[in-house]
């Protein structure tokens, strides 16, 4: 009886809907250029998950997902071109994996009414849904990351960082500068001194910065790096014999290729992560339904790596939001505006993640009209060079919202004022 009812309901749904088109998910990837080493595994994971959903489940709510890949080479102008070239295809969501591209797309997606999801990057204050209707950055943002790092250090130092010296080695760009206000506010709260060490892009030459670190002997070095900057920094840290356990990168400085060039010297280096690394059951499904059928986005060598897992997680969150949108609007053939509603009602629970074959891949979180940023939690992981893998040192650590929330409010309200935006959710 239940089966008949369900069939009737699906039949009615299909009859009421227009002809089902594909659900379009553009992938603004970078498989070429100086940052390709990070872009490739992320894109592989992102695309493989959509292929898995198509092959194993028959699509999302019965509608096939179609990924349109567009090469940005991590170049902001090319990223914008990709956006313009693909938005007319019925794009439901954009995830550009670049803070520079994100800043250019925020006004565009707001005008075109297409959601933008920047997990762990982009404009931090976009977490304020009252101002940024079309932008989401769950499960965490840069300011969360800075606070998670400090909370971890507090835990490691008996709850006090009074008198400690912390240096921030950062990519001298909008991305690299993002955590500075948070770290400064946290320095005022916890009594540590903060020194700032910018590294010009791409970051191949860092001798001056590491000589300064050697002279000033900070207790901890935090790093906001990307691309070649990460590999050089790890090598330079090893060269000056800086204790690796006191060197912590953010989650864009904690992939396998960031540490392997330095070999055993990278042992003990730590980084944050917004998602766990494990041999999730979903990988087996990907191997069977995607790679086994010759449908892999790449050569299949990246499955399970940090950035592959994160790309897959990004796709998983998009699929779950699409399902939620279908549920809310009673149609499988959703639009970008409906997708936004799905994202705003998304709730990721432990049970859901387990059912998806990725137990504990991310923290539990829910999105609302006001809060587009998720829980902001992150873990700390450490590189074991002998075994060639990252090992999680902590469970998910919560950020200090007492410090972050006022900063988000201040920055987002300034944006609202500059752009004459009226506040939502009121």
């Amino acid at each position: 009886m239940k089966l008949k009812l369900a069939s009737a309901a699906i039949g009615a749904l299909l009859a009421a809907s227009p002809a089902l088109a594909d659900l379009v998910f553009p992938d603004l990837s970078y498989r070429t250029g100086p940052f390709a080493a990070g872009g490739i595994p992320f894109s592989d994971g992102y695309q493989d998950y959509f292929t898995l959903v198509n092959e194993r489940d028959g699509g999302i709510g019965g509608v096939k997902a179609r990924v349109i890949e567009c090469e940005t080479a991590y170049n902001t102008e090319k990223g914008v071109e990709c956006y313009e070239a693909t938005k007319g295809e019925g794009a439901l969501i954009y995830q550009p994996l670049s803070t520079g591209i994100t800043y250019q797309l925020i006004p565009k997606v707001s005008a075109d009414k297409i959601p933008l999801h920047t997990m762990g990057y982009g404009r931090t204050s976009a977490t304020n849904g009252r101002v940024f209707e079309w932008v989401f950055n769950y499960p965490a943002n840069y300011w969360d990351a800075a606070s998670v790092a400090i909370n971890y250090l507090l835990d490691e130092n008996g709850g006090s960082l009074e008198g400690k010296k912390i240096a921030l080695l950062y990519h001298n760009s909008a991305y690299g500068k993002e955590p500075i206000p948070t770290l400064e506010a946290l320095a005022a709260k916890h009594g540590y001194s903060l020194s700032l060490l910018p590294v010009d892009s791409p970051g191949q030459e860092q001798k001056s910065q590491w000589l300064q670190i050697r002279r000033e002997r900070p207790d901890v070095v935090l790093m906001w790096g990307w691309g070649v900057m990460n590999q050089v920094a790890v090598q330079e840290a090893a060269n000056i014999r800086f204790p690796m356990e006191n060197f912590i990168g953010n989650w864009w400085a904690g992939a396998e290729h960031d540490v392997t060039p330095a070999g055993m010297a990278a042992n003990g280096y730590k980084s944050l992560n917004m998602n766990r690394i494990a041999d999730f059951p979903v990988f087996e499904d990907i191997r069977t339904h995607v790679h086994g059928k010759g449908l892999a986005a790449g050569d299949g060598s990246n499955v399970g790596k940090v950035l592959y897992t994160r790309g897959m997680y990004a796709a998983m969150l998009a699929v779950e939001a699409a399902k939620k949108a279908q549920e809310i609007h009673g149609t499988a053939n959703i639009t970008a505006a409906m997708m936004r509603d799905g994202m705003e009602a998304l709730e990721m629970t432990s049970e859901m993640m387990e059912a998806l074959g990725a137990p504990g891949i991310g923290p539990e979180f829910s999105v609302s009209c006001e809060a587009h940023g998720g829980s902001g939690m992150g873990i700390v992981q450490q590189w074991n060079a002998a075994e060639g893998r990252w090992i999680a040192l902590t469970d998910y650590i919560a950020p200090d919202q007492d410090v972050i929330a006022p900063l988000v409010e201040q920055d987002s309200m300034a944006y609202a004022s500059e752009n004459n935006l009226s506040l939502r959710c009121e």
């Binding site: 250029g33 390709a36 490739i40 001298n172 191949q204 030459e205 910065q209 590999q231 090893a238 290729h257």
Partner: protein, 331 residues
């Protein structure tokens, strides 16, 4: 001695060492410009391509594996052997010579007597082609380069110099890789000088550099000289690729090291090998000392732009660069 002074000396020494690495890249530009008047935009990519080839050969990677697998449904990636470093370097040199022959045959031969800007544009095309070829041949992942070069602080220097300062001075930090790079650069420059002074081919190369019309009239083959000079530039690129790749792994950003060579060329001149070396040293020391003394007052990260400021200042007084040839064109 006061620690601050010792720190400044340390910065200066490291600036000299960094300058050697810049000079290694600049040398490739100078060689080609001197012999053919071409500003080779692809020099950074040559370093990347050489380093990719070296690592690929060393690790027994199958070139074009991704294409082969896509075309034939296979899953092959490695031959299953690793090659001794010496042999891999020798074979990479062979590949760079073959590449030089191909560049001459398929590009330069067709552009004889064209405007310099046309030749420059051709090298831009070559740069993007080689970058794509490297990607398709060897993949875009970050590769670990292990040719047995030492890395890390020289403890011997650190220990002996630590006594010069107080408790806050830990001895001079000098990276062993930088010392090796300096020695290799010295050998390279001496070899190039001996080659150009005492070998038949070297003299022919100098003749073409001085006046290629006159060189042609005495029977020197311009095509052979171009192959020769691009081969040498390829070998220099391999050396630069090894030194820079050892620091960061071999990855596509390696091609951007060319940016570090431009101020060196502006300062040292495009036609002088000693100019490349001295220019590299001046840029290295200048940018590091500026960052040390002024950088922190103005927000840091000054090195990239200050190198160009320094080069521009020199250009005001010597437009042809420190060691460049003064060009006088009479009407």
């Amino acid at each position: 001695m006061p620690d601050q002074f010792l720190f400044a000396v340390e910065v200066m020494i490291n600036g000299l060492m960094a300058g050697v690495l810049y000079a290694l890249v600049a040398l490739g530009f100078v060689l080609i410009f001197k012999a053919s008047g071409i500003f080779n935009y692809a020099q950074g990519v040559l370093a990347l391509f050489a380093a990719l080839t070296l690592v690929g050969l060393q690790k027994g990677q199958i070139p074009f594996a991704h294409l082969i697998n896509a075309a034939f449904g296979t899953k092959v990636h490695y031959f299953g052997w690793t090659m001794p470093t010496f042999l891999a370097i020798a074979l990479t040199i062979g590949v760079m010579i073959l590449l030089a022959i191909a560049i001459e045959r398929f590009i330069l031969k067709h552009l004889v007597n064209q405007e310099p800007i046309i030749l420059f544009m051709a090298t831009i095309g070559l740069a993007y082609f080689l970058e794509g070829l490297g990607d398709v041949m060897w993949g875009a992942d970050v590769k670990t380069l292990d040719v047995g070069l030492p890395q890390g602080a020289s403890e011997w220097i650190e220990d002996r110099s630590a006594v010069l300062g107080g408790d806050g001075f830990y001895g001079f930090f000098i990276d062993k890789l930088d010392i090796v790079a300096a020695l290799v650069a010295a050998v390279l420059v001496i070899s190039l000088t001996l080659f150009s002074q005492y070998s038949k081919q070297g003299r022919a190369l100098r003749a073409v550099a001085d006046d290629h019309q006159a060189a042609l009239s005495v029977g020197i083959s311009l095509r052979f000289i171009w192959v020769l000079v691009w081969s040498i530039a390829g070998i220099v690129a391999l050396v630069a690729g090894i030194m820079w790749g050892a620091k960061s792994g071999v990855q596509f950003s390696l091609s951007l090291i060319a940016l570090k060579a431009l101020p060196v060329l502006m300062l040292g001149g495009f036609t002088s090998i000693p100019g490349a070396i001295v220019g590299g040293l001046i840029i290295g020391v200048g940018e590091k000392l500026f960052e040390f003394t002024i950088g922190s007052m103005i927000g840091g990260a000054t090195e990239n732009w200050f190198a160009y400021v320094l080069a521009l200042v020199f250009l005001v007084f010597r437009p042809q660069g420190l060691f460049g040839e003064k060009i006088i064109e009479r009407v």
